[in-house]
Symmetry: C2
Subunit: 236 residues, 2 copies
DNA sequence: TATATAAGTTAGATTAACCTAACAAATAAG
DNA sequence: CTTATTTGTTAGGTTAATCTAACTTATATA
């Protein structure tokens, strides 16, 4: 049985290694930072997780999950996102409120509970932030996504998820009038500071580059004519 | 903010002091026993809880909750029983499965979650074991109950709750054909070993004294003509 | 009431998860 | 290719929650 803390390390490791496709592994500082602990603490825990055969790790080397570690991590992500969906759909939480509570609920140990919750929610595919919920087999379908910041001037796209799940960002997203599945047209891009002028539901607004980098979109027809939305997700 | 462990001590203390009406307070061994720790461990924690003004405690004396400690404990019991009700009513758990998972869920910190869960369940009054769920104000209505073992020969009564919530006992209760709200007639009582012959739904069976002492009942008309079922609960 | 037993406390040790400070290795920059 | 910087590790210490063993206080009984 894994402790809360161990589970959090595994989850953080999964999140880091999933950041981009060909990531070789996580670093100690990176991991420590994600978990709000000091690097020395992370080193200690990594030795422990290595002994338990949950991570591949050697001194001064890159860190990655073993197959077993990965399976655990995915199960935690599954629980997290199922609980978020429960809070959102059944208990009327807003999308900026669900993350914090799910951070606690994801550690509840009961396979039956997870299975029944999944069933109760009719096997949802996405959580309230648009992230894919791993299925019961532990398959994590990872969609190829681009951020709003990468969309070319004049292009239209559809918002599918957010990168930053913090309450602060999510509230801001709502304020700008955005939400999952909204169609966004990029009217113009300022070359000086990369500010974007976008149109959503016939309302025009301006957003910063930082903001745009945290909005995931798919756009069916890109400038070069090739689709960037591989709608058939890849199982990683 | 209280730790899991501190919460468990408060809950155990409430359970012990509620055992019977004029209980002066808990003992260290009693408490340690309930929590499956050694008395020495309990002593340490009691000092800590005393410093936090959650328990009234002095060396070698009886232990009781302060008003604040009690309020905390009741909130934990409320959460426990609401979660049990959720698992039972919404996720089709059986009554012998809910306790274990609720032991974990009761520690989730989110006032909003508790309130919304209560609302989602339509403000239930009783959990699957027949125990009263404290309301949002922290009022714990304690019903005056007698056990099946105290019912006189020839009397009829109604099962309202169980004393022992362990999965083993609950499965046995089901096997005997009993459940909350069943009407039970005590046909005879063996004077030698206090075995009871009871009739439930026209089925006659025999139960031990130990068993009968863990079944709570109300019986409207007792031998002496006085009602033992004070249906208007007392708020303690 | 004196003493045996039960109940409760103290002291000292352990483990998990964290820290700081000092050091070592790897990488980047001149 | 040497040095500066970043990154990561080690050593030693802290806190919460637990333990065992030895001791003290309270209670029950002869």
């Amino acid at each position: 049985m894994l402790s809360f803390t161990e589970e959090n390390y595994l989850k953080a490791l999964l999140q880091i290694t999933l950041e981009f496709d060909d990531k070789p592994g996580a670093g100690t500082n990176e991991l420590a930072n994600q978990l709000n602990v000091k690097p020395a603490t992370a080193t200690d825990m990594l030795k422990k997780l290595k002994d338990k055969k949950l991570v591949d790790y050697k001194k001064y080397g890159k860190i990655s999950l073993t197959a077993i570690g990965r399976r655990h991590a995915i199960e935690i992500v599954r629980k997290h996102r199922l609980w978020e969906t429960f809070l959102f759909k059944k208990l009327s939480f807003t999308w900026d409120e669900v993350h914090e509570v799910a951070e606690q609920l994801e550690h509840i140990q009961s396979q039956k509970l997870v299975d029944r919750l999944d069933e109760f929610l009719s096997y949802p595919e996405f959580d309230p932030h648009g992230d894919v919920i791993p299925n019961a087999k532990g398959e994590l379908r990872v969609a190829f996504k681009k951020t709003l910041a990468e969309v070319a001037e004049g292009q239209s796209c559809k918002m599918v998820a957010v990168k930053d799940n913090s309450a602060g960002f999510l509230k801001y997203v709502v304020k700008v009038g955005l939400g999952i599945n909204n169609n966004i047209k990029v009217l113009s891009k300022e070359s000086y500071d990369a500010m974007l002028t976008i149109e959503v539901n016939d309302v025009v607004s301006s957003v910063s580059q930082k903001f745009a980098q945290n909005i995931f979109v798919v756009c069916p027809w890109c400038e070069d004519g090739k689709s960037c939305s591989k709608t058939k997700c890849e199982i990683k």
